[in-house]
Amino acid sequence: MTSFMNRWIPITFMLLSVAFLLFSWSIYVDENIYENKPADYDAQLQKQGRLVWQKYNCHVCHQLYGLGGFLGPDLTNVSQKGFHYVDAFLKNGAASMPALELTEEETQQLFEFLKATNASGSSNPKDYRKLWNGMIEQ
């Protein structure tokens, strides 16, 4: 029994590891499913906008698709309210949000990023359908 375990422990470990690597690779190279509406935003600017989001640590208080901090609202679809709405909050802050000193370029990049998040779908739980098997989908 012991020798059986000694042999199968490393084999099982290796098999699971190989499966994990293949699964990971399939995610890294998958190009087909991620772009819903690329025409709705500037692809280059949104890439920079992602870095602006990170530079100001926005996720500490805000969420994208419900992932992030909970002091402020989810911002996945905030770009629907327009550039000036977003810009006003960035410039003036809110109750617990300080006024952020973004450059004009950074504000534009961040807004393009928020347009990209909006184009990917809705984060509103009311927009999800419940399936018979317990799964949900938009």
Partner: protein
């Protein structure tokens, strides 16, 4: 050699305890912002405090587990020497920590959830982790038959390194081409890396359990290996449950859903073992390492119940994006990981049962358990308020929903304060004890401190 391992191990344990206490203080300050939004708003703010809290909490787990592994694998006289490697390992961590906290203080962020520091410091941590892997392999190569905790530690160390690298793929522009793809990889890494350091912690639990019960076969138990592989399977493939609402490949959602459901086995196993543990508890209850392991078991039951429901997508829909998620994260970090690591810290730094007789220590222990329960209830209350707000028609403004949570926020702050005080009662003597020439009872340390204060 043995003495060198012991010193390095203790150094990691004490460094981890400093981080643990820092995490509690930063967490307490962060909680005040929920009630008093202007607090520190124009200085460090939540954008600085939360990374300080989260980084200290994660590094407490990593460094405490590292200290435990150094202490557990204290080398016999014939084992090859590691020279200065463990010291270099520790120094790299200290440099990284100083750099990271300086960055937070001046508002320089990498800005990824849980890993908010600029990516340059990840290089130092990565190199430190490679040194740890080398030290670990050198230590275990002389062990002919590996108990389950050695497998768990090896898995945790190797996979942490792989996932830690994956966590920084975002610095390559290719991985930021699509926001959703970037997010999938981010949460794939975030989910799996928790699994990797949980492996280090669960390995620690098996080690301490084996040494308290003095049953050498615990580490070779078939059930232990079955649970190890189930944990590994979940670590590698169950992270998809973070992404149910993210519009990605449905295959990712289904894999996460199905794999998460295998965790029911853990759930059933905990219930099955309950009676046996009560019998054991009668023998070991006054020994703090055992008491912490027993507490971890209770919190595992609590958190696993929450996790299992959250892993069902239709239920997740009502809990996602709310403080139920925070309750789960805090519950596992404090209730499971911290309890297990404190068990190990007590086991190594204050090994003798007769040194655990202290009323303040007992008050600290029970204070932690009761405060944590109230703390988690408060978070779930906040979560429920937000969940109801999500589905109401018409939906009130966000600030109104926050105002409805006032009672839960106050409860959250009070229970958090009580949790902080209780942890301090438990942890402060641990700094004093290991550095005494002749270890004494923790009761005496308290007595001496109070006498000293009076004079």
């Amino acid at each position: 050699m043995g003495s060198q391992n012991k010193n390095t191990g203790n150094l990691f344990l004490v460094t981890a305890l400093v981080l643990f206490m820092s995490s509690i203080v930063f967490g307490f300050l962060s909680s005040l912002i929920y009630r008093y939004p202007e607090f520190l708003k124009d200085s460090i703010g939540l954008s600085g405090l939360r990374p300080m809290h989260v980084t200290a909490a994660i590094f407490w787990i990593l460094l405490a587990a590292t200290g435990v592994i150094y202490r557990s694998l204290e080398a016999p006289a014939n084992q090859s020497k590691l020279g200065l490697l463990p010291w270099l390992h520790w120094i790299l961590w200290v440099i990284a920590l100083i750099g990271i906290y300086y960055s937070y203080a001046v508002g320089s962020f990498g800005g990824r959830e849980y890993w908010e520091y600029p990516p340059v410091f990840a290089l130092l941590i990565g190199i430190a982790w490679i040194l740890f892997l080398i030290a670990f392999i050198v230590r275990i190569k002389s062990i002919k038959k590996w108990p389950v905790y050695v497998w768990m530690w090896l898995t945790g160390i190797v996979y942490f390194l792989f996932i830690f690298i994956e966590n920084y793929l975002w610095v390559i522009p290719y991985f930021r081409e699509s926001f959703v793809k970037d997010m999938v990889i981010q949460w794939k890494a975030a989910g799996s890396i928790v699994g990797a350091y949980n492996m280090l912690v669960y390995g620690t639990a098996f080690y301490v359990m084996e040494h308290i019960s003095k049953q050498a076969n615990t580490g070779f138990n078939k059930w232990a290996f079955a649970l190890f592989f189930l944990s590994l399977f979940n670590m590698l493939f169950n992270w998809g449950h973070h992404l149910y609402l993210v519009p990605t490949n449905p295959g990712i959602h289904y894999v996460g859903y199905l794999v998460s459901m295998t965790e029911w086995v853990f759930f059933i196993k905990i219930i099955y073992n309950w009676k046996k543990q009560i019998t054991e508890a009668e023998t070991h209850f006054h020994y703090f390492p055992y008491r912490f392991l027993l507490a971890a078991n209770f919190w595992m039951f609590f958190n696993l119940t929450l996790a299992l429901f959250m892993s069902i997508p239709v239920i997740n829909l009502y809990m996602h994006g709310t403080h139920f998620i925070t309750a789960h994260a805090m519950g596992t970090t404090i209730g499971i990981n911290t309890m297990i690591l404190l068990a190990a810290v007590f086991y190594f730094l204050v090994p003798k049962k007769e040194h655990h007789q202290s009323r303040l220590l007992k008050a600290g222990f029970w204070g932690v358990q009761i405060s944590l329960l109230i703390f988690l209830i408060a978070l779930m209350g906040m979560g429920l308020t937000k969940s109801l707000w999500f589905f109401e028609e018409p939906q009130a403004p966000f600030f109104e929903m926050m105002a409805r949570s006032k009672f839960w926020i106050i409860l959250f702050i009070f229970s958090g304060t009580s949790l902080m005080i209780s942890f301090f009662l438990l942890v402060i003597p641990l700094f004093v004890h290991p550095f005494r020439q002749k270890p004494v009872s923790l009761k005496r340390i308290y007595k001496n401190e109070s006498t000293h204060q009076k004079t």
